[in-house]
Amino acid sequence: MFSETAKKELEEIRLKYPNARAALLPALYLAQREFGWLSPEAYEAVSGILGVPKAIARGVGTFYAMYKHKPMGRNIVQLCTNVSCMILGAERLVDFLKNKYGLEPGGTSPDGRFSLVIMECIGACGTAPAMLVNDDFFENLTEKYIEEILEKYK
């Protein structure tokens, strides 16, 4: 179920749009925050509030890469490997994350601390390679810098 705060937030979001359906994307973000990932229960909750049939909501949700459809680690490392990042060594960093933290692309570290998501371009090409940890940008990455960064995320 949605928390009361989330329900209230959703009501406010709903007012930004001419109909309830348009609030689906923000509602799914909220549900992801509330449930940790978009579980069947999360979809049912959104469907119940917005009146969007749950199969349709799930179709929409699974279309977008940033909605998660399995439980995630406490922190999500979103590393870009698209061309600008790739030619500046992003693949090496993928290996590093695997070797150092046991993080496979799309997987979660055994301690549940991190999940690794390989991203398409995140708009930090001039400062490549780059990643987002949760909502925070980190650029000009090196192995050493990644170590420092991840230290801050428990």
Partner: protein, 419 residues
């Protein structure tokens, strides 16, 4: 050239409304509200402003269509779904100069008689979301948004709509679908968004950079604006340069700046003095250019004459260490990941191309694979629902066109010779 779009961004508080106003912001909006909407469109037409999202469509023409449609309310959507790989030109505006965009949207909204605006912001820009929301709140507070903008009786409401990771939403009808709470799959055209857009109402979708031109354009007038940059498509342009250059980053320069100058003059040349191997001039979907083809003016009109496109102005520079088969493979991985799945050639073709490229890259390429790639790409090109599939096909075709020997070597040697 003075900085127009990236003005003041080195000021750490540039996103604050007070700083923006101190630097002369929100002066064009009252001026615009004192004009007739038609007059604004006329100025935009005189300015020759073209959409900065990639297609370079004349802005005034789009606006005229939407404004002529009798249906209300009208919507103004800002395309901030900057997803073309290599592109990071809108992000500094969104994060450092949000009020420029907001002022531009209010002016544009007035010109279109639009009551509602949304900034469709890509999900990958969480920081920009907070900055924009804060800036919008400030603008409401100061009366630059709301039921009575700047006390001139104009109603304009603005909100941020966050995408959730889908490149295709940069296509304007897909963006509208996504705004309406659906999958970002492109719509059948016609009807065009200017007539039947968001919530079935007349809708204009413009890029962040495009809309951010409006305050300056209205400030100095269309004729004066038209004197900047290329006569064919005037104005300032943000070029974003990544890859193997000494000084990658965003460069606001006159439209039509020479590609070689951008790389060698503004960006300090190839990193570590290495040899240039290839340049993708306008984001990954635009045709790749070999080093001998980079003497071209970077604008919408000239680039096609040189076998490529301006696209988003995202210049990706690659030195001699780069394996282009691998880059091509990575690009197709991207297109496969981002294909929306609606049409057959793109849904099936991007994956097939990626698989064939993958086997070449992995040293398992077979004789005939290059022909197969070209055949698959040819079967996609011009047959897909939207330009995404064309982009994927043309990447393969152009990589092979300019760098065929590298592909052949991969197949023959069952390995990469570059490293």
């Amino acid at each position: 050239m003075e900085k127009i779009l990236l003005k003041n961004i080195d000021n750490p508080n540039s996103a604050d409304i007070a700083e923006y106003m101190k630097a002369g912001g929100y002066q064009s909006l009252p001026k615009a509200l004192g004009m007739q909407p038609k007059e604004i469109i006329e100025e935009v037409k005189k300015a020759g402003l073209r959409g900065r999202g990639g297609a370079g469509f004349p802005v005034a023409m789009k606006w005229t269509f939407a404004s002529a449609d009798p249906k209300f309310p009208k919507y103004l959507l800002c395309n901030a779904d900057e997803g073309e790989p290599g592109t990071f030109k809108d992000r500094p505006i969104l994060e450092k100069n949000p009020h420029l965009l907001i002022e531009g949207m209010a002016i544009s909204g007035f010109a279109l008689s639009a009551e509602y605006g949304y900034i469709y912001l890509r999900g990958e820009y969480p920081a920009a979301k907070d900055i924009l929301n804060k800036a919008i709140a400030q603008a409401y507070e100061k009366g630059f948004l709301g039921d009575n903008v700047a006390g001139k009786g104009f109603k304009f409401h603005l909100a941020v709509h966050q995408g959730a990771g889908a490149y295709i939403c940069g296509e304007e009808t897909a963006l509208i679908e996504s705004l309406e709470g659906d999958k970002g799959q492109p719509r059948i055209k016609p009807p065009f968004p200017v007539n039947v857009g968001a919530f079935a109402k007349p809708t204009v979708v413009n890029n962040v950079e495009t809309l951010s031109n409006l305050p300056y354009l209205i400030g100095i007038g269309g004729e004066a604006y038209a004197k900047i940059g290329s006569p064919d498509c005037p104005g300032p342009k943000i070029y974003c340069v990544s890859g193997h250059v000494e000084k990658p980053g965003v460069y606001e320069l006159p439209m039509g700046t020479n590609l070689r100058d951008i790389i060698y003059t503004h960006c300090g040349g190839i990193k570590g003095g290495k040899k240039l191997k290839a340049v993708i001039p306008g984001g990954i979907s635009t045709p790749i250019l070999p080093p001998d083809k980079i003497d071209c003016a970077m604008d919408f009109v000239n680039m096609p004459k040189h076998g490529s496109m301006l696209g988003s102005g995202a210049v990706i520079v690659m030195d001699e260490s780069v394996c282009l088969v691998k880059v091509c493979y990575r690009a197709l991985k991207f297109f496969e990941h981002e294909s929306c799945g609606k049409c057959t050639p793109c849904r099936e073709g991007t994956g097939w191309l990626r698989k064939v490229l993958g086997r070449i890259e992995n040293g398992q390429g077979m004789e005939g694979d290059i022909d197969l790639l070209q055949s698959i790409a040819g079967n996609m090109l011009g047959k897909t629902f939207c330009p995404l599939g064309d982009g994927a096909a043309s990447v393969v075709q152009n990589f092979i066109k300019h760098f065929r020997p590298e592909f052949e070597a991969h197949i023959k040697n069952k390995a990469c010779s570059t490293g």
